[in-house]
């Protein structure tokens, strides 16, 4: 009896991610959701620039590699090319989504563009070797904030879900993490909802996933998972920031 198998939507190749990186888990969750919803044949994924740049080699659905930060704009084009059939998701890191691509993110949300965004927040630029990200915490030491992020010099981290929740546009915003089994399960529920929303025509759904980067944080994988609990969640509280359909039901 098979109790654990690779999702069909994930290609059976070794991932290039570092040991202890949680991209692999999140990839798997997205793939499981695509399998469960039976949408692989009509799904188009948009890969970012950053550590997950080569996500196009891992997902079995059609994939597009976008310029840095532009994934929501590319997704807008793909979605509008065939809104009835295309299921479109972007998979973006914090530098991509919240720094260079902030305008594309905000405006896709404001338009309630019917797409799904998986936003990986690990508070650092991983691919280029550990520079300060728009989501790096105050005091966080990175290659470009060697004395710790000083808000007086470089401002405060951007809380994407909180910020977007002020917009009327978006349908669904939730922050989750994958640092333990319970949280992984919860993250999958959120990701599935974000895809289901699109299928139901509800609109812009973004799931922010607090993710570990042991390599650039300079920690063991285990400590990195703990750091999410100790440092990230207090600054970036988990939870639903907007769920328009649920709000309507409440009323």
């Amino acid at each position: 009896m098979v109790v654990f198998d690779k999702p069909h939507a994930l290609i059976d190749v070794p991932l290039h991610y570092c040991p202890g990186c949680t991209h692999g888990i999140i990839h798997r969750l997205v793939a499981e959701v695509i399998d469960e919803l039976g949408i692989e044949g009509r799904t188009i994924g948009i890969a970012p620039v950053g550590c997950s740049v080569m996500a196009y080699n891992y997902f079995n659905c059609d994939m597009i590699e976008a310029a840095h930060g532009r994934a929501p704009a590319v997704a807008t084009g793909v979605k509008r090319a065939d809104p009835e059939n295309h299921v479109v998701f972007t998979y973006q890191g914090d530098g991509d989504l919240a720094s260079i691509g902030m305008a594309e993110t905000v405006h896709a949300a404001a338009r309630n563009e019917n797409i799904t965004i998986i936003f990986i927040n690990n508070a650092i630029y991983g691919m280029t070797g550990g520079q300060m990200a728009p989501t790096s915490l105050p005091g966080q030491v990175t290659q470009t904030s060697p004395y710790g992020r000083d808000p007086k010099v470089c401002g405060y981290p951007i809380k994407v879900c909180e910020m977007l929740s002020e917009l009327e546009g978006p349908e669904y915003l939730e922050r989750v993490t994958v640092n333990n089994v319970k949280n992984v399960k919860n993250a999958k529920r959120a990701i599935k909802k974000a895809f289901q929303n699109q299928i139901d025509g509800k609109g812009f759904s973004l799931v922010e996933v607090l993710s570990a980067c042991p390599t650039n944080w300079g920690m063991t994988p285990e400590k990195a998972l703990q750091w999410i609990d100790d440092k990230m969640i207090p600054y970036y509280p988990l939870g639903v920031y907007k769920d328009r359909s649920a709000e309507k039901e409440d009323k």
Partner: protein, 355 residues
């Protein structure tokens, strides 16, 4: 033949795009091309198409990238400063071998510049505009009719060669009205088996991508792409010759500069001066062959441009400097007058064609 209608050049581009089957337009307002967007905003919702005013030119070109990835005919339009912003997207479109149509209704620069007509984005257009080795097919209309015809042609060539076509017009071409016949021949878009429209669980996944970290592979992509460019050069170079049979003086001009030059040539011919014109219609590929062939009888070339002299470099390369080439130009939104061109022709003639 269909009845002719009076249309602005910008509107002719928009209508021709619809005729060519383009149902997706993304843009950001900028003078002097705004009529393209306005026309699309009016028409697209009525025919089930997409008009979307993007948050920036950068977003617009990336929306184009998305639709092109899905295999549909798609376009954006802008004017010079906006095209600079699209430069990133143009490079990615080239790197991912995606077909798209981009319209540049040029205005004077650099920087914010002005809003009056210009041809000073010639280098940017013919040399690529973004980073990396690539070309776009650059089409230079000189009438409202050509604005329409070359738009259709631009979509066809983009599909045929999987590259970006650019309409390089200017404020005059965009704003002027002329009669235009819209019974345009349109080749339907070819099959695009590479497009990302969903695997339908019936094939391997398609990937649209410009990243290639193995230099040997990336080199091969570049060489292969340039093999394709060679075919474009062989098959798609376009130009018009005007009174060139016996010409000893040859004007090189495109777009509005060619229109102005025609007046000057007609006058000079009345004065008995043997002058003609080669008008490139494709700026890339540049019509090298007719220029080189003309060196058999032309003693002097005059490049007429709304810039500080950009195309003149291609004229000199194409003619292998076998005869001198001088520049007649205005810049910053000014347009050379027929008199200015005529004076240059007379002067060249007095020198016996030798400057």
């Amino acid at each position: 033949m269909a009845d002719k209608v009076l249309m602005k050049g910008n509107e002719a581009i928009a209508e021709a795009a619809l005729i060519a089957g383009c149902r997706h337009y993304f843009g950001y307002p900028i003078t002097p091309q705004t009529e393209v967007a306005a026309y699309m905003a009016k028409r697209m919702p009525k025919i089930g198409g997409t008009f979307l005013q993007a948050e920036s030119e950068i977003a617009a070109i990336n929306m184009v990238y998305g639709v092109a990835s899905a295999g549909y005919r798609v376009m954006t339009s802008s004017s010079s400063p906006g095209i600079s912003l699209k430069g990133e997207g143009l490079s990615y479109l080239a790197g991912a071998d995606l077909p798209a149509l981009v319209v540049n209704v040029q205005r004077g620069g650099p920087g914010l510049g002005g809003i009056q007509p210009s041809q000073s984005d010639y280098f940017q257009a013919t040399r690529g505009g973004g980073h990396g080795d690539y070309h776009m097919i650059v089409l230079a209309p000189a009438s409202v009719q050509e604005m329409a015809e070359l738009t259709v042609k631009g979509f066809e060539l983009a599909d045929k060669y999987r590259m970006t076509s650019m309409i390089l017009a200017d404020g005059t071409m965009g704003q002027m009205m002329e009669p235009v016949a819209l019974d345009l021949d349109v080749q339907p878009a070819p099959e695009k088996p590479w497009a990302t429209t969903g695997t339908k669980m019936a094939r391997e996944h398609n990937i649209i991508n410009s990243l290639s970290l193995v230099p040997e592979e990336l080199e091969k992509f570049n060489f292969d792409r340039y093999e394709r460019y060679k075919k474009v050069e062989e098959n798609e170079t376009r130009w018009e010759e005007y009174m060139m049979d016996d010409a000893e003086i040859c004007i090189a001009a495109f777009g509005i500069a060619a229109r102005v030059s025609k007046n000057a040539i007609n006058q000079a011919r009345k004065e008995g001066i043997k002058v003609g014109m080669i008008r490139p219609i494709t700026l890339w590929p540049f019509p090298k062959a007719p220029f080189l062939a003309s060196t058999a009888h032309v003693k002097q070339y005059i490049s007429v441009e709304l810039s500080m002299g950009q195309m003149i470099e291609d004229v000199r390369l194409a003619t292998e400097c076998k005869a001198p080439c001088t520049l007649v130009n205005r810049a910053g939104g000014m347009i050379p007058s027929p008199e200015q061109v005529l004076e240059a022709i007379r002067k060249a003639n007095q020198n016996g064609g030798n400057n």
